[in-house]
């Protein structure tokens, strides 16, 4: 087990390195005239050239990359070219924002879709049809329309929540909760729809396994078999899809973050990437890649626990 984790971590570090090289190359190639974008249309060409030199953008890419890498290895990710904020600070503050939304959405998705999916699969009949109908609707309505609908109804009409903005937890826990509630719901709805289908599918699948009959033949009640054995076996696929959703949400929160004007990773990823804010994007890339590596590792550990066949050797 320890060896497994160690190996995964080492391969994770290699992954991070490769990704950082890839990302730097992509940014360099796709960057265009970054200094001009920082300075806007009113700056003269001389100012732009000076800024380019100041940022080191006139250096060969290899020099730039190793410059970045050598500082990154000491924990210094530089400062954003477009907001002047240290990248580590910018990312950690935004990470907290995005994680509070994404984890919230993932938890709600997990809970709701497990309940709905299991209910639909076990009960069958009309429950199954209704749950499927709802989840299909949720899946089919574009996310931003859901978000807009939520803003219009709950924030603008009922005035239960503020339509935009984010309050850090440290400033006020209740306001924080109020500021993330709508975004979490907006993000969850689409996810719940998809995951419910998967949970239902894998529970139906597990219900048809031979061991269900055999266990019941030993005198175990239907519910006991379902909630102990079927859920555990359906857990693997459900967990896998949740992990994919979680990773997807990290980047997929973009539109929700835009609509609610939430300073999260998704929002900054779009802005920083399109601007060519290399230090910020590199920081983001490294941070998200690290999160993905860790989440995948955790998921694999969980999978191993759920399905002993995938023992972690």
């Amino acid at each position: 087990m320890f060896g497994f984790i160690l190996r995964r971590l080492v391969s994770g570090v290699v992954l991070l390195l490769v990704i950082s090289v890839l990302a730097y190359t992509l940014l360099y190639v796709g960057g265009g005239n970054i200094a001009r974008r920082i300075l806007g249309q009113s700056a003269t060409e001389e100012t732009v050239a000076q800024k380019t030199a100041e940022l080191g953008l006139d250096q060969p890419i290899i020099v730039q990359y190793f410059d970045w890498l050598s500082r990154a290895l000491t924990g210094d990710l530089g400062t954003s070219w477009f907001t002047g904020q240290p990248v580590t600070e910018g990312i950690s503050s935004r990470l907290a924002v995005t994680l509070s939304i994404v984890i919230g959405a993932t938890i709600i998705t997990a809970i709701v879709s497990v309940i709905l999916g299991v209910w639909a699969a076990v009960h069958g009949g009309w429950v199954d049809k209704v749950v499927q109908g709802i989840s299909i609707l949720g899946f089919a309505i574009p996310g931003f329309l859901i978000a807009l609908g939520l803003v219009t109804f709950f924030a603008l009409n009922l005035k239960w929540f503020k339509p935009t903005g984010y309050v850090p937890f440290a400033v006020s826990p209740t306001e924080w909760l109020a500021s993330v509630t709508l975004p979490i719901i907006a993000l969850s709805i689409g996810c719940i729809a998809g995951v419910t289908q998967q949970v239902r599918g894998s529970v139906v699948d597990a219900l048809h396994r031979d061991y269900v009959r055999t266990l019941r033949s030993r005198g175990l009640s239907h519910n006991r078999v379902v909630y102990k054995h079927v859920l555990r076996n359906a857990g693997g696929p459900a967990l896998a899809i949740l992990a994919v959703q979680f990773v997807g949400l990290l980047g997929g929160a973009i539109i929700v973050e835009q609509i609610f004007a939430i300073p999260g990773l998704g929002q900054v990823a779009v802005i920083a990437t399109s601007q060519g804010d290399i230090p910020m994007v590199m920081g983001l890339v490294v941070a998200t890649a690290a999160i993905v590596v860790i989440v995948n590792l955790l998921i694999d550990l969980l999978q191993g626990w759920l399905n002993p066949k995938v023992r972690l050797a």
């Binding site: 240290p86 910018g90 929540f161 909760l177 909630y227 835009q258």
Partner: protein, 507 residues
């Protein structure tokens, strides 16, 4: 285990709904109080470091924490601020300013002429997009603690205005080397950035500077500046009453915003239309022919475009000088009226009766509809436009220059600034460095002639470039600053964002 989960889920949802309710309910009123001014912006603060600071849409960030040497009234008149008096020498190459002696920075160091001089030089050598504002400054030195002397390499009619903008902002010299200076400014301004409550890129929170030397200009106890990346998010914030004022990215949602109880404060700042850079025809030989450039001017139904793209808010024009300019000529607003036949004739005369193809850049940043419409209008007179999506490199690409012509929105600066921005051979927006002897001569007169000579030269220059069709302007756009029922504002001539001290609570 499952039952527990179900119960927990129900509990969590309930808790969420309840706290959501109460939290929302208790916080309705905090944003729009008269002790706090909350403003929406379309730009985040690129940096707070005075030597690299931006202006225009980012002006409030700097004005909150820094004082400028001079100040401009809403109408654009230059008045005293940190400097109480100023005086040029005879040939306008030395400017002497008398400074206040009662100003301290928020780090308790004193403001003096030495501090001012250092800031001037640092801005000149820094990387602010507007650093060229001080390009003429050869040296700045403190004669005594209250006397600052600026020596110029050549006279600069725009210098005093520059000192009311970011070029005149003064940061505490003790903070020059601070590691966090980009996000934690130290100035002498009316407000102090509260870095703890600030979420960079989302909301910048300021508290009042209790020791401010000019308390009469401070009308609020606290200030919150909130940039919005998405216009719909800003619209929702406005509709939810979260903002006292905001500058809208476009006039698209004005009706909605007015319906939400906001007042629209209109002003004309920008013109929009085409820039025909390649007057020499080096990239697009056709554009070297003035008849082709004129044909392009005739091809656009500017009234309809104003309706279609500008929501009808603006004034059709064919000149790039603003109404406030001495060179402004009302006649020139309709020098080229929509006349596709005439356009075709001119093209035929120039030898393009079979049409021609122009390549232009496009970017979704300026909308998608407008590029489609340009293509359609030019196609109607026989000019095919081939677009290349330049994305975020749009400005860099047009200034490279990679194209002979482009659609653009440009600011209408004061005359001398405008000439040096869009017309002069060295101007940023004359990337082909096109030179016309007549234009050069007129610019020389504007620069060094007497006031009357200069005014006449501006007028002639304006008429000349309209006739030569250097540009194909459509209309002057209305910019809109919206304010709620509790807030009054005076819009600023020549700037996209009203100056901070011009916001007042409505009594």
């Amino acid at each position: 285990m499952f039952r527990w989960k179900r119960a927990a889920a129900v509990g969590a949802v309930l808790a969420l709904a309840l706290t959501g309710c109460s939290a929302g309910g208790s916080n309705d009123g905090d944003s729009a109080s008269s002790d706090k001014l909350t403003l929406g912006l379309i730009a985040t603060a690129t940096t707070f470091e005075a030597q690299a600071i931006n202006f225009a849409n980012e002006a409030p960030y700097g004005q909150a924490v820094y004082d400028t040497l001079l100040k401009a009234t809403p109408e654009g008149e230059v008045v005293e601020n940190l400097a109480t008096e100023w005086k040029y020498n005879e040939d306008s190459t030395v400017l002497t300013l008398t400074l206040r002696d009662d100003v301290t920075f928020t780090d308790d160091t004193k403001f003096d002429a030495e501090a001012a001089a250092q800031n001037i030089l640092r801005f000149r050598d820094g990387t602010s997009p507007n650093k060229s504002l001080l390009a003429a400054v050869a040296d700045a030195k403190a004669i005594d603690p209250t006397t600052l002397e600026l020596t110029l390499s050549q006279s600069d009619p725009n210098l005093l205005v520059a000192l009311t903008q970011n070029a005149g902002m003064v940061q505490s010299p003790a903070s020059f080397e601070n590691a966090d200076i980009k996000t934690n400014p130290v100035g002498s301004g009316p407000y102090i950035l509260d870095t703890k409550a600030t979420v960079v890129g989302s909301s910048y929170e300021f508290t009042k500077n209790e020791d401010y030397w000019n308390p009469d200009s401070v009308h609020y106890d606290a200030l919150s500046l909130k940039p919005y990346a998405d216009p719909t998010a800003m619209l929702n914030a406005l509709k939810g009453g979260q903002l006292n004022g905001a500058n809208t990215a476009s006039n698209n949602d004005l009706a909605e915003i007015e319906a939400a109880g906001y007042t629209v404060n209109p002003f004309e700042l920008n013109w929009t239309g085409l820039i025909l850079f390649d007057r020499a025809g080096t990239i697009e030989p056709a554009l070297g022919d003035v008849r082709v450039r004129q044909a392009i001017n005739y091809a656009f139904d500017t009234e309809a475009l104003l309706e279609a793209v500008g929501q009808g808010l603006g004034t059709p024009t064919t000149q790039i000088f603003p109404t406030s300019s001495v060179g402004y000529d009302e006649e020139l607003d309709s020098a080229y009226s929509y006349d596709p036949e005439k356009a075709k004739d001119l093209l035929a005369e120039a030898g393009y009766e079979d049409g021609l193809t122009l390549s232009m850049p496009s970017t979704s940043g300026l909308g998608t509809t407008v590029f489609t419409l340009i293509g359609q209008q030019l196609k109607d007179v026989g000019i095919t436009v081939e677009y290349t999506d330049a994305g975020n490199n749009f400005i860099a690409d047009i200034l490279a220059p990679k194209y002979g012509s482009t659609y653009m929105i440009l600011q209408q600066d004061p005359d001398w600034a405008l000439i040096n921005f869009a017309i002069a051979p060295t101007a940023t927006f004359n990337p082909t460095k096109y030179q016309d002897p007549k234009v050069d001569e007129l610019i020389e007169t504007v620069h060094n002639g007497s006031q009357d000579e200069s005014d006449a030269a501006v007028k002639e220059l304006n008429a000349y470039i309209v006739d030569q069709a250097w540009f194909a302007p459509w209309y002057r756009m209305q910019s809109s600053f919206v304010t709620d029922a509790k807030t009054d504002v005076k819009t600023q001539v020549g700037n996209a964002y009203p100056y901070l001290w011009n916001f007042t609570p409505k009594s």
